[in-house]
């Protein structure tokens, strides 16, 4: 396939990473300004510069062509030990190109929003420096051509997530949330480590291109079991980073960070890295169908659990957080049924409308003077018109209102799920219905009805810094869907072409699977059922929550379970944390205090006693010393003459 992929070298790719990095260093170490606008603009400038480079790349090399020139930036060799050679090369494929545009584009918009949102911040340079650093790390993850570089970016975004969640470090809650995010991510990263080690031992290479072309096609002998193990470890890492069961618990707590952070990291970019890497490596996954089943059901369970919890949350950000977890579950379901295009499509559309929803929530919170409880809001549609309009568009997108971006991506997932089996489709449909319910609940309680508190009565629209990004994201949520439409509506398959040409000529078909396509009639039926169900439930939810008062909250056993997040955190505490800390404390008490200290005490006492004993020889009397001398010499003389 060499003739299809003419390789082109360019040193432009490294600037995509370097520019935000320079911005971070400038803001954090050089300028260190307390002026929000200044640090915000510097950060936004570098982020926008990276975005324009991505645009020019897309312009030069194309995005949706069937045969593209594979573009590589051979930057430098990272390390080379024995037969392990790890270069730090950057790579541009259509898949990475789309992700680049999403990350830098939405990133820049969020930078602009943050410049307005953080207007009361005392030392904003720290915030914007971290934000740029995050962007740089994420871009390393996207652009890197081998798994070690991806891991570098993976860890980098984890670090920045910790830094940004615990940004307002004066509060213990925030720092605890940051720690939780970092530690949970770390547990997931263990999987990535093990996968890397397995690759080093069995495959000898980390380059994605080689992995796909050599190992997915079976051209090189490597046991299927090993590949399965590697993929399982990578999926474990994804449960950490992309918030699936069992490691999703950090994401709701991460809402303690500033809202732009939640929008950027926990909605649009970082949490989708797991899916991004999986789509990048798709031919490997396709060669091992057994793991796909597993991914499918874990994703389904997560989608359901999160949706159930989101039904009763009071905090608007928590609703959106659980919604994110649930939507990520949808994406993994898509992967599980063998539809990487659908999964990545949902990544892109979700980035737009979830960022929009989070930023809208941020605008609301800003207007409500940082009160986040939805039961205290109400009637904001009159006070904050632009926020309302954009939030509405975001809500419509997420529930899959026809012709929004979310409609196309969600329906594509449902269609592929139906191809897999009716059970998966049915469960996923119900989860989508739940999504409609809780999203409309959130929307209605916030923007409709009567204002329930003073803050709500005196809320005002946010500044242009915040409303313009909202409008741009709203536009995106409406337009972006048209890159991939089903055969019954416009039949556009640009995204599919782009993604399928990103696998270096290797096919993404699942081993032992014959893709059967749905008939047009079936597709129409599916679309109709989905739309009717979602919209019907949405209307019901709207009516129900139009007249809610601030004291009401749901009662009953199921509601209790849902409100308390099904006690998952408490369960972890009981089963994992308490035994671990008991072990640690016991080993401290025994090993450290008794064994090591005891040994040191023995040494100390031995020295002391030895010294005291030996000091008896020092009488201070010259004749005594002369005795010692004479005795020694006499012994030596006798020894030399008689013994030897």
């Amino acid at each position: 396939m060499d003739e299809v992929f003419a390789i082109q070298n360019t040193s432009l790719l490294r600037w995509i990473i370097l520019l935000p990095l320079i911005g971070a260093i400038l803001n954090g170490l050089v300028i260190r300004s307390k002026n929000v606008r200044l640090s915000g603009l510097v950060a936004t400038g570098f982020s926008a510069a990276a975005f324009f480079i991505c645009l020019s790349l897309v312009n030069t090399y194309g995005l949706f062509a069937e045969d593209f020139a594979q573009v590589i930036d051979p930057w430098f060799t990272w390390f080379s030990v024995g037969r392990i050679h790890v270069p730090f090369h950057l790579e541009y494929t259509p898949l990475t190109g789309i992700m680049l545009l999403v990350v830098t584009g939405i990133g820049t918009l969020i930078h602009i929003f943050a410049t307005g949102y953080m207007s009361e911040e005392k030392s904003p340079f720290r915030f914007f420096s971290y934000l740029n650093l995050f962007l740089a790390a994420m871009l390393v993850l996207v652009l890197s051509s081998n798994l070690v570089g991806i891991f570098l970016g993976w860890e980098g975004v984890g670090l920045c997530s910790y830094l940004l969640i615990g940004y307002w470090y004066e509060s213990n809650e925030n720092t605890a949330a940051g720690m939780k995010a970092f530690v949970t991510n770390r547990i997931g990263d263990l999987g990535f480590f093990v996968a890397l080690f397995l690759l080093a031992a069995h495959a000898g290479t980390f380059q994605i291109q080689e992995l796909i072309t050599i190992f997915a096609t079976g051209a090189a002998p490597i046991e299927g079991g090993i590949i399965l193990a590697i993929l399982a470890c990578l999926f474990w890492a994804s449960t950490g980073k992309s918030a699936q069961i069992p490691l999703y618990v950090w994401l709701p707590d991460a809402m303690a960070g500033p809202t732009p952070v939640s929008a950027l990291i926990h909605a649009a970019t970082m949490v989708t890295s797991g899916i991004f890497v999986s789509v990048r490596l798709w031919p490997l996954f396709a060669s091992q169908p057994s793991i796909l089943e597993w991914i499918l059901w874990v994703g389904m369970a997560t989608a359901w659990l999160a949706a159930l919890i989101a039904l009763t949350q009071r905090d608007i950000k928590k609703v959106l957080a659980y919604s994110t977890v649930s939507q990520l579950g949808f994406m993994f379901v898509a992967l599980g049924v063998g539809a990487p295009v659908a999964a990545f499509f949902h990544v892109v559309t979700h980035a737009f409308f979830k960022a929009l929803l989070f930023l809208g929530a941020g605008s609301v919170i800003h207007g409500m003077h940082h009160d986040q409880d939805m039961f205290n809001m109400g009637g904001l549609r009159k006070k904050m018109p632009q926020t309302h309009a954009t939030f509405l568009i975001g809500t419509l997108a997420i529930i899959g209102f026809p012709l929004t971006a979310g409609f196309f991506s969600k329906d594509m997932i449902l269609a592929k799920a139906y191809e897999h089996g009716p059970l998966a489709w049915g469960l996923l449909l119900l989860a989508a219905v739940l999504t409609a319910f809780y999203m409309l609940r959130a929307y209605t309680m916030t923007f409709w009805g009567e204002a329930r508190t003073e803050h709500a009565k005196h809320a005002h629209e946010s500044s242009l810094w915040m409303t313009i990004p909202l409008m741009l994201l709203a536009a995106g949520s409406l337009i972006v869907g048209f890159m991939e439409t089903p055969p019954i509506i416009f039949d556009i398959h640009a995204l599919q072409t782009a993604i399928e040409s990103s696998w270096y000529g290797v096919s993404g078909e699942i081993a032992g699977h014959s893709g059967h396509h749905l008939s047009h009639a079936t597709e129409w039926v599916l679309v109709l059922i989905t739309s009717v169900a979602s919209l019907g439930v949405a209307y019901y939810s709207y009516k129900k929550f139009l007249t809610v008062t601030s004291k009401e909250s749901a009662k009953g056993f199921a509601a209790e379970l849902s409100q308390n997040k099904f006690y998952v955190d408490e369960g972890y505490q009981l089963i994992i944390m308490k035994p671990l800390s008991a072990v640690a404390s016991a080993s401290w008490r025994f090993l450290d205090v008794v064994v090591i200290n005891g040994f040191l005490h023995i040494v100390r006492d031995g020295m002391r006693i030895g010294g005291q004993v030996l000091s008896f020889a020092h009488t201070g009397n010259v004749q005594t010393y002369a005795w010692y001398l004479a005795a020694a010499v006499a012994t030596a003389l006798v020894f030399v003459n008689w013994v030897i």
Binding site: A630, A631, V633, A634, T635, L637, V638, V640, N641, W642
Partner: protein, 184 residues
């Protein structure tokens, strides 16, 4: 193999007696005087074996200067006679005696093979060649001293200089202490 002369025997006995007197004397003055006697007699012993120069130096310096100085100081400090610990009364004396005996034995055994008729050069051969007088003459000694042992010679000269300065400094009267008796 030259037999020792009667003179040497007598001198030897006297030397040993005076040495014992030195070691066991009660009175410090008596110890000093018998030391002087020992040194003087040793000098005479040197003469009998033909080491004239060394004998002269021994009597001049050792017996004549060092011992005099010693007596000088004994009298300056006005040391009183004191009880000598009698040998045999305390175990420490047995130990000391034992160690001395060990020294003696060890040394004797070390030098035994070199002495006597087994030695390459025995006194008979030496006497026959008359090399003895030449070897221990002042000329031979000084030649050796100034050629082979030049460095020790010069260093010893420095040592004497340092000793003179040291004695002057140490012996100075301190302003804080008087010459009349106890210090402050």
């Amino acid at each position: 193999m030259i037999e020792p002369t009667i003179l040497q025997y007598i001198l030897g006995t006297l030397i040993l007696s005076t040495a014992i007197l030195t070691v066991l004397g009660k009175n410090p003055v008596m110890s000093a005087m018998s030391l002087m006697g020992t040194l003087f007699l040793t000098g005479l012993l040197y003469f009998t074996v033909g080491a004239h120069f060394v004998g002269t130096v021994q009597i001049l310096i050792y017996a004549g200067a060092i011992c005099v100085l010693l007596i000088f100081i004994v009298m300056l400090l006005d040391l009183k006679p004191h009880n000598v610990r009698i040998p045999g009364r305390k175990p420490v004396y047995l130990f000391a005696g034992g160690i001395s005996a060990l020294f003696a034995t060890g040394l004797v055994i070390s030098t035994l093979p070199a002495l006597g008729t087994n030695g390459m050069l025995d006194s008979g051969v030496i006497a026959a060649n008359n090399l003895v007088e030449d070897a221990q003459s002042a000329k031979a000694i000084s030649l050796t001293l100034l050629s082979k042992y030049m460095l020790p010679f010069q260093v010893t000269a420095l040592l004497l200089l340092a000793a003179v300065m040291g004695v002057v400094v140490i012996g100075q009267k301190n302003k804080l202490t008087d010459s009349e008796g106890k210090g402050s």
